[in-house]
């Protein structure tokens, strides 16, 4: 058996903790050797739970450790590009949570650093590893529905984030729709050329006061002429709503929500099924594990990571185009925001 890959996790928040658990228990061929967080107590707690030997406040201790081959960056978004550059400089293989950054210049700088260092960079678009969406991609890629013509994505959260978060989130298009933009590229296997975004404050006026919208309906125009529609809401009372449909010249493929069980109760009043799984932690557990396995596999087998730096950059461009489209109430070409 080959030696295990030594990994350090940077950031011990919700998503860092989740990756740490998977690296500790669910991903073979890995040794989770260190975790850092500027709030060191958070890192200590995670380390205790998953028996991680080294705990640091300063992430540079991880960067400086020659025994660590790969880092998983789960710190706050505004530090991602810097972390990527430091990791690249230290020769580490890199898994980084989305988005890379909200500034295209800084993204490009970080990607250049990765390229120069010759290390791998995988971006955390976990939904690509969900069995439903992966199956849709496979069906489309295999030509089972012919030439794709219309994509429909419904993506609704069960509840809005705190207003404090909304204020620093970059707005719904960069914070929430970004996942759907990635899905659009992934499922259709081609690039978007133009975006038209309608939006409104229909859920909570406080979101509007924070300068954001909470409901959006986005039209995508792909380079091939195919079209796409994404509808987002910050609040679906029945739970996390994550469905996609691709319609093509020879057919259609759809996927529906995941439920905790298949029970159907029929009474004199109604026939009742279970609500969808509540939110992304429940819905995408297996996807988070699969993406980390794929990262480890890419590193160990020296193959390209399945979600590249470019895959991390494009949805940010799309988010900017959507924001501009919404503000100006007109279709916006991606080239307008990414000259």
């Amino acid at each position: 058996m080959p030696e295990k890959l030594n990994v350090g996790v940077i950031g011990a928040g919700r998503i860092g903790r989740l990756h740490a658990e998977h690296l500790a228990y669910r991903v073979p061929g890995v040794e989770l050797v260190a975790i850092s967080d500027i709030i060191v107590s958070a890192a200590e707690q995670v380390a205790a739970q998953f028996q991680i030997p080294a705990v640091y406040q300063d992430h540079r201790r991880i960067m400086d450790d020659p025994a660590i081959q790969a880092v998983v960056i789960c710190s706050s978004t505004d530090t991602h590009s810097q972390m990527i550059e430091e990791a690249a400089a230290a020769g580490k293989q890199i898994f980084c949570e989305k988005p890379i950054d909200y500034d295209l210049g800084r993204i490009d700088h970080a990607l250049a650093a990765v390229k120069q260092a010759g290390v791998k960079l995988q971006i955390g678009f976990n939904r690509r590893f969900d069995p439903n969406f992966r199956r849709v991609r496979d069906v489309v890629a295999a030509g089972q529905i012919g030439r794709p013509q219309v994509l429909r994505i419904t993506s609704r959260d069960p509840q809005p984030p705190p207003i404090a978060y909304v204020k620093v989130s970059g707005g719904i298009f960069l914070d929430m729709t970004i996942h759907d933009f990635d899905m659009a590229r992934f499922l259709m296997g081609e690039e978007v050329d133009e975006v038209y975004a309608a939006g409104g404050v229909l859920v909570d006026p406080a979101i509007g006061e924070a300068g954001d919208v909470d409901t959006a309906l986005i039209t995508l125009r792909f380079k091939s002429g195919a079209m796409g529609s994404i509808d987002n809401s910050r609040k679906a009372v029945y739970g996390y709503d994550q469905r996609v449909e691709v319609f093509g010249s020879d057919g259609m493929v759809t996927v529906s929500n995941n439920l905790p069980d298949s029970a159907v109760v029929s009474t004199a009043q109604a026939v009742t099924g279970s609500l969808p799984l509540f939110f992304f932690v429940e819905r995408y557990t297996e996807a988070y594990i699969a993406e980390m396995k794929a990262f480890v596999e890419a590193v160990v087998q020296d193959t390209p990571p399945p979600v590249t730096g470019l895959d991390g950059r494009k949805p940010v461009v799309m988010g900017y185009a959507a924001g501009k489209s919404y503000r100006e109430n007109r279709p916006v070409k991606l080239s307008e925001v990414d000259a």
Copy 2:
């Protein structure tokens, strides 16, 4: 038992024949006494099949018959407004197939004639009488899903019409989407303010050469701020695809396609269900009967018809706005085309 309502049908094409059958056998309280068609052999054939006593080439014979209380106009679209005016002048109760006309001025003229004559006019938006869509409307109107926020309509035909028809159809937005525009108003219970239509020729280049598109993705902005999305295709290989979803502050209601049977066959290869009913004649049989029953009921009980002249006019306005939006690639307010 009260005397029966004497009805004459004008036009013995596909839809005229369908209404004649329903008036002959499926709608109580009615006597189908006459049918006309400029191709008199067509009228004769229908008359023989459904035992209609009088057959005419000239529809004015129906208009002039004082024993006939109501007419069902199924002639070609370009004659609708004239027929309505004649029928109104003759004091007939009027059922008219959609659209009233492609010219707003002529629509207004016809509606004014109806108003002045004090007769009833019901427009043939049959989908309002489909059990699925009616149920969606009831759920929304009852407040079961709270305040409506996002409407999604998927409306795809199993096959494109002949190119000869495409050329005179008024274009996809006036010929096909018009039904979905009516659905949008019906389901949401409010008016649309602005339309953005993306479209393309993805099914058949000949449709493009005829000056039309065959695939469309339309964003609606309702007056309340709610949004809607309609996706149309002229060709869904799996059959007639007619689904809607309304999402609101307290929930969601969806309806799916109608199937010929509920059989599911599981083999070593796949789990397979039946294709949707092929097209509108199969899918909307009950809706066509129900709309005619509703018309007869409105006449007999002297109540307002459930689909008014205004209901016939608004979708035409929306069709024009969609066409303009598509050509100019920008959102268009309804007021721009209906000053």
Copy 3:
């Protein structure tokens, strides 16, 4: 166009009225010329509603009318075999509601009369014409699921009949399960050899006091060695429950209940669908029409009727075997009750 088939209906109760409506409006090639009922006012009411020219108290007026080519027997069960014999003697083509009789000797006598007269006899097992069950039969007959091994039928009524009816019904196995026995033969395409019936009074003690059971679970052993299971209840609070499944060496086919619409409402509490159609009149409307069309077609085209006298006899034998099995709590071969 060939002359129409003149038909007379005997019996103007619920089922007679239903057939009369279909013969009047929904079955082409037929002229409904007469109806009789010993309660003549019932016949008069139906005749008025569906414009039937002749109304009689005495069914022999129909038998004696040489212009009537076919009769539809909807009188009470105890008169069926006599009516069949009279109709056969009069040379009429015969459609008779199930069951032919509760006495095997009288059934055989009636079937002999039919044979001797050389007329056609179709028994009213309407479920064979339901699109779901017909599709199951087609899938099985086409070999799509290989060799059938296990049949499952769930057949539950929404509410028990009145106790007065229960007392004269012949018991659940002859009154209710008889339809499922017919389904079993129809779907599997082979005969049953042995029956084991478990039963109980779980719904209403009054049914037990009337000497019957209201819940039953019946095991069938087919001649090929395949097995079947039928579960019956007189009361499913959620509505008429009519499902079947056939499992075979190469797969499985299942059908589920028919719903009034496909609406699914998702709220914070639940995901809710519609209850099944309430009872047989709603569920089997199309099946009743289709069976009558099939009868007319068999007569007009002089082909064997799709549900024969033997098909009417076998389920009665199975009902007796089930009753004996229940009383003696042991498997009973059909040959034990039909020596």
Copy 4:
């Protein structure tokens, strides 16, 4: 944090390996400290994979280790009762795979040893921990469907076991149906009084030559008068088929199969969904983890285990009754085989 529970696994076959993985990675509060197998290389392989410190050929090394508080018995069925007695004598907490034994006397001896030692014993009926079946139990126990009247269990394997296994399996009723017998007791919350088992060799003649059947249809009579039906097949070509339905005075609850994804592909030929998960390892992964968590919790919190020794004994009695019923083709009371 309290000290961890030290556990040893006895038997490193398929199920032992599965439990070892869960104890190593998925069950908190546990330290998997030893594994044994008479084929020591099998134990060594598992130990290497999951970093288990101690590996033995002789299970008594585990029994004799005072640091080990609990054992998980996954050895061959014929050793279970002896292992339980040894473990009880050593004061270990015991998790034992089903069945305890095929001999009721040995089961009773083992259970007596457990009782005398005052240790806990949990039997590995994993399906009780499946989210679907657990939900059914909860719905029934909460009275949501009123008084249970009819239970239906469909339980079909994707492929028969090797004939060599069939010969020593104890027969389908003790090897396969035993799980369904447990489900019946669990879901209905009451005991079975009488069993009638029909069976046949419909899948593979070699199974018949080995003295067993491969298809069975079993009628259960519960003490309350409620009835149950279990249908088993050794070969469902479409995959593992595990469905249940409970029908009661106030409604019904059903659960369907688990699928790898929710994708539905519609083409011109068919609407196709995914096959069920292949077999128990895929279908019941979460159930296996949940049962082990429940065992650890029962030990740590000193509460009764959720599946007791009696729960392990009853299905064996039912299996004997079913076998006797099949051979004698008559209903058999459980008291006949468990005097």
